[in-house]
Every structure is written in C-alpha cells, then in structure tokens.
Point group: C2
Chain length 341, copies 2
C-alpha cells in the first residue's frame, strides 16, 4: 500500500534516482541515453509510479496550482467560466483551486493569502472592483494574475471580458428599431467595470441614435441582484420619468424589474420592453422569455487561463498588458416588442 517513489523506480531500473528523474522528465530527457530512458520508463509504468507533486513543488518552487477567485459560485454566471478555465488548465497539468469569497473583501484577502502560502503559481480573478486593493497588491508583487469578466481601474493586469459596449449598442439598436424612444437603464453597481462600462455605453448609444439622455434615465442599482433591481424599478415607477423600455444591468436586475412592473400593472412586453444581460439558465423559459445579451462565458474562462499560462511561462515580460474583449450576442426573445404608438 506504500506509495512507490522515484528511488524505487531507480532501483528497479538499476540506475541512480537522479538519472531516473531525468529519464522521466521530457525536459532533460535528452541528457540520458535512449536505452536507459526506456528501461526507467518501463520500470515506472510497471510499478505504477506517480511523482509526488509536493516534493517536486518544494524543489522547483512551482506548485502547478492556479487559484480562481469568484464572488459566489452559486451565481450561474461563474460556473461556465470556471469550467472553461479548468479545461485549459488541467490539460496543461495545472490544478484549479476555486475559492468563493462570498462577496467579502476580508474573506477574499484571507483566501488569497492561504493560496499564496501554498505557492500558487497564478490567479484568475473574477471579483475585481473598479478600485481594488487586492488587485493592486498582486500587481505590485508581480504575481501572475488575470482578471476575468470584471476589470480594474489602472489596467495593470491582463483582462478578459465580453465586448460590453457592442452588446449594449446592439440592445439599444434593437429597441430603437422596435420604435422605442424612451429607454431607461437600470445600471449595475458603479464600482464594477461592467456596471460602469454598460452605463457609459448606454449613454453613448442613445446619443448615436439622436436620443436625448435625460436626468434619471440611468439609475444605479445597489447590487447585481433581483432585490436591487426590484427596488430601483419601484423608485423609477414612482418617479415622473416616462419610459417604454428598460435595459437592465444584468438578468437578475431584469427579473426584479419584471416583478416591479407586474406589481404596478405594467405588462411586458405590451407596455414595457425589458432587456437583460448574461443569459442565465432558464431565462429563456420565462413568460415572456427574456431578451438578453449573451456573453461567451466558457471562452472567457478558457482564454483567461491561456493568457495566465503565458504569463507564468515568461515571468520576466514587462510588455503592455492585454485587454481582451470577446464577441457578444443579443438573444432576442419575448420580453421585447414594438413600442406602443
């Protein structure tokens, strides 16, 4: 039941452990004769040798561990990204460690510290705030890290996200084509890049279509949550602002808005059209099915992992950091319809 170790393999092959190590390593494989290498490899297979990652990590100062930090695994936005990242990483021999910060900065700090004590080789950060101490710290320390989905203000780390501006532009275009002239944006929190970007893109898109951007037409929600969406929409309804369409900061906000609208007797899409963001599972099964902007979450996870691997491989690089935006699509469904004349 004892784990077989390198020295056992070496003995079985009649060589020194050092030689066995080289024979099994693709890197230094050329330093050993083909004949010996074959003998060692065969012995290793026969004995079922599995190298001890911990021992190797101690010597090489690499852990082959990647930490991925998400605010809440329970939010369906993240699992696809995790999956994409894991596939790329595990193919490259890395193990992904997922940690859930529960949206709490202190928890996040602790988790990352613990991971760093493990000698984690790099981080995938999906929790970035617009101004983020942790992100700064990682950048300062020169720890390989990539931001996913949410960016952070001084672009010091690579970032992978969706092309928010285009997504918003398409959504607005869609609404305008349907005849809507009074569109309101229920924006996400402005301490996230997505919240800021979408709001800014919204204003820009309106101007492009020659529509005025009035006061109270962009309303910031306290969080990316259903409750926050409900609150914001309720306030909107009790204000004097007229509107026939809502662009929500994400699907949860859209759901809250739908609830608020229903409560106020406004029908969707007959009275008000609603567009969401993210295309969460099941929003296509609602009545009406939610029109929403879909992000390539899986690809975002995969690409961020690839970029991270690149950064790990050349630690000395000081070139410009990449900000990658992936294509986005609008899924037109039942929650948007022609504006009432």
């Amino acid at each position: 039941m004892e784990r077989v170790k390198l020295i056992d393999v070496a003995r079985a092959a009649g060589v020194h452990p050092g030689t066995a190590s080289r024979a099994l390593s693709p890197e230094a494989g050329s330093l050993v004769s083909a004949e010996t290498a074959r003998r060692v490899v065969r012995a290793a297979e026969r004995l079922g040798y599995v190298p001890n990652t911990v021992a190797r990590g101690l010597r090489t100062a690499r852990s082959f561990l990647i930490g991925m930090v998400v605010p809440d695994v329970t939010n369906p936005l993240f699992p696809p990204m995790v999956r994409g990242a894991e596939q790329v990483l595990s193919r490259a021999g890395f193990t992904l460690v997922l940690t859930d910060t529960d949206n709490d900065a202190e928890t996040e700090r602790r988790q990352v510290e613990q991971l760093r004590a493990r000698g984690t080789d790099g981080f995938l950060i999906a929790t970035a705030r617009w101004e983020d101490a942790l992100v700064q710290q990682l950048a300062d320390a020169g720890v390989p890290a990539v931001l996913v989905n949410r960016n952070s203000s001084p672009h010091r780390l690579p970032y992978v996200g969706g092309d928010e501006r285009t997504g918003v532009a398409e959504a607005v275009e869609h609404l305008v084509t349907l005849g809507h002239r009074s569109i309101v944006h229920l924006a996400g929190p402005q301490d996230t890049s997505t919240g800021r970007e979408r709001a800014s893109a919204f204003r820009h898109a309106l101007r492009q279509h020659g529509l005025p951007v009035g006061r109270g037409q962009v309303r910031t929600c306290a969080a990316y949550s259903e409750q926050a969406g409900l609150d914001a929409c309720t306030r909107l309804l009790s204000s004097s602002v007229e509107f026939t369409a809502i662009l929500a900061g994400n699907d949860l906000i859209a759901l809250g808005a739908l609830t608020a609208l229903a409560g106020a007797g406004r029908r969707c899409p007959d009275d008000v059209s609603v567009v969401g963001f993210n295309d969460l599972p099941l929003v296509d099964k609602l009545t009406p099915a939610l029109t929403t902007v879909t992000l390539p979450l899986h690809e975002m996870g995969a690409l961020s992992a690839q970029i991270l691997l690149g950064a790990i491989d050349e630690p000395g690089r000081t070139g410009p950091v990449a900000q990658s935006l992936l294509g986005i699509k609008l899924a037109v469904r039942g929650s948007t319809g022609p504006a009432r004349p």
Copy 2:
C-alpha cells in the same frame, strides 16, 4: 520581495529553527518556555512570516487539500453544496479543490489521480454511480472520502444526502390529496442512487395510498436532462397509459416534460400536474411555477465536509459508516392543481 522563512524568524528571535517551529505550533507549544515562545511569535509577526505549506506538507505527509468531485459545475444543483463544504473546510484550514469530471469516468479517474499525487487528504464525491469503480478503489485504498448527494451500492463510505423517500412520499401525498389517481414517474437514470431511490419510493408511496402500480407507470429517463425528460414524456404521450400527474426525477426532466406536454396540447396544471425535484433557481418564476421537492444542498455540503474532517482525524477507525439523510421539503407552486373529475 523574498518570502521570509522559518530560519529568518529563528535568527531574528535568536533561537534555532527547530525551536521556532515548536514555538509557533500550538501542538508542541508546551515544549518551549513561555518567554521564548513570545519572542518567536513577535518576531514572526514583525517579519510577516507565512509558513510554506508545501514544505510542511512534505514533512508531515499532509496537504490540507480536499478534492471535491462533481459531474458538472454548471448544473445549479452543485454550487450550493460546494459552497457549504468550502465554508466548513476553509474554517478548518483546508483548501477545497473543485474538479469537474464532465460526466466522464476517464476524466474523473485522471483528476482524482492527479489529486492523489498531490497528497490530497480526502475526497468529497458527488459523482457516485450505483456501481462505481472509483468509489470501490478509494474505499479499498483507505483514502478518507465521503459521498454526497449520490450513494453507491455497498455502503462502504459515509454518505450524506437528502431524505429522498420522504420527499417522494410528500409529493405523492400532495398529488393524491388533489385527487390524482393516475400518477406517472419519469425516473432518473437507474445507475444513480437518487434515480433508484426515488423510483422505489414512488412505488411504495402509491401502494400506501392503495393505488395500483401498473406497467409503464415508471419510465426511466436516459439522463437527468431536459432532453431526456422530453423524450421520455413524448414516448409516454404516445403510449396508452392514462395519467393526470407526473412526478419527475428532477427539475430538468420536469422541464422537458412540460415542453412535451405543451407540444401535445396538454395544459399544466389544468390537464396534467407536474412535480419536480431539486428546486433549481428560477423554476419558481416559470408559468406555471414548478412545484418541486427542495433539498438542503448547502447543509449537505457542510455536513459531508464535517464528516470528512472527522474521518481524516481518526484514520484508524473501522466503525460502521454513517449514512446521513437530511430533511427535505415540498415547495407547492402552480404546476400542480386539482385532478379533473
């Protein structure tokens, strides 16, 4: 920027590294004088010493790593369990490594192997099949492991799940109370404990109510998926079996069934009542909102982690293994209604 290590702390405190180690370890803390201990601790704090987990792991043969194996993170069933487990584990100083097997046995084997090479201290398995080679293997090897959500046939490992039988009983009771006499079960795959257990409990519940269990009244779906539910329900509709209610193996199957019913012009709940299992996010927002059995997923994750920690602490134990069932509740919503006379 160099990481400060134990020897630095020792030097700063004017003691030998061995002594410093003991001073910092609560275990052996009594082997060193209070005065020295204080000096060492202060030095450690001042220098910002963070012990190297890898080196420690090499010496102690413990990694403080727990692997959690799920078939698909993207399935909303799992994230809450992951979350529950992570909270317990991280409090105990362990790091949770999540791996997604993509429902593939070979991937699963590879992942677990990789984790074992890391000296992972224990496993949380959420992928168990009724007959499962991996589970057998872990049990044989004496690796601490706990099954979550799905059990495996010879109960050799501890298991934590929901009280399926009671859940099914309540669902059937609910339907019978509504006047339904012809109830069909679209069962999940029979190579999973949940699929078997729910089907068996369904038969039992019918008998309890004096209802006959006819042929074709329990139909097995090929997978826990929407497509499988749609297929099974389509076949059901084209058979001669009469029914006014469906108990689905889980929510996805229920969704598929709803689609099939709608396609056949049968309305829910007017013509057919449907009950699901799991209470996935948003199923309460559908029209009609899905009546479903809710599992305490978070608690399942937390409890399984606790049991695992216990197993790790006393490796020698050979007592009986615990099979823990947590309470379950029926969420009555719009998809169930009175049977038509």
